[in-house]
């Protein structure tokens, strides 16, 4: 699955996209932490199909997935 990265996390990863396979949000967090240095120190949310979702949610691989650092709008 292709994961979209934003803001500080895109900067840390050096890219706005990352390909990763994971059967759940929790597993995806582990995959991302292996590949983005310093990620475990950061607070971020995972959005699945444009809704922030709990860590135990399953993933089929066909969803739109995004990694969201803290919001700063307004």
């Amino acid at each position: 699955m292709r994961v979209r990265l934003f803001g500080l996390i895109a900067e840390k990863a050096g890219s706005e996209f990352m390909d990763a396979e994971a059967p759940s949000v929790e597993a995806l967090r582990a995959r991302l932490a292996e590949r983005i240095v310093g990620l475990e120190a950061l607070s971020y949310a995972i959005a699945v199909d444009r809704v922030i979702i709990r860590d135990d949610a399953p993933l089929t691989g066909s969803e739109e997935i995004a990694v969201l650092p803290p919001f700063a709008g307004g």
């Binding site: 979209r4 934003f6 803001g7 500080l8 900067e11 959005a47 444009r50 809704v51 739109e64 995004a66 969201l68 650092p69 803290p70 919001f71 700063a72 709008g73 307004g74």
Partner: protein, 151 residues
């Protein structure tokens, strides 16, 4: 949803700062709506905060647009449901580099009476800050940066 009320899906994002003249133009457009008695407007302006002796000279805003617009549509619908007397609700947020002193955010509501206009603007501003996936890179006087975070 009623067609007369402006709560259709809209792009709230605008490239670059919001011009002060955009506010007057928005207000002037409502002169024909003589059921309006009150307008409430919130404007966000980029602040030249100083931290560790370094001054913020600009914020570069980016967004996860698809999700932001979905959240905004939901917030707008909930706002009209909670304050049905609201005549219109306009939201604009800047993307790109906005310099200190420039405007990056506008929420504008009109209603027959002031209480609804006041309450809906506070509600919408707070929800946007909390729920829209918008990211801000504070660019400092020495060209380093720091990622902004709403508290």
């Amino acid at each position: 949803m009623s067609v007369a009320k402006s709560h259709k899906v809209k792009d709230v994002f605008t490239d670059g700062p919001i011009a002060p003249t955009a506010i007057s133009m928005s207000v002037a457009k409502h002169a024909a709506r003589t059921d309006i008695g009150a307008h409430e407007i919130f404007l966000g302006q980029v602040r030249a905060d100083v931290m560790d002796g370094l001054k913020v000279v600009a914020i570069e805003y980016t967004a996860y647009r698809e999700m932001a617009l979905e959240r905004m549509t939901a917030i707008r619908e909930e706002a009209f449901a909670k304050w049905p007397s609201i005549t219109c609700l306009h939201v604009h947020h800047s993307l790109g580099v906005i310099r200190a002193g420039e405007l990056c955010f506008m929420v504008f509501a009109s209603a027959p009476h002031r209480q609804a206009a006041r309450e809906v603007v506070a509600y919408v501003v707070d929800r946007i800050k909390a729920e829209l996936p918008i990211f801000g890179k504070e660019i400092r006087s020495d060209e380093t940066h720091r990622w902004k975070q709403n508290t």
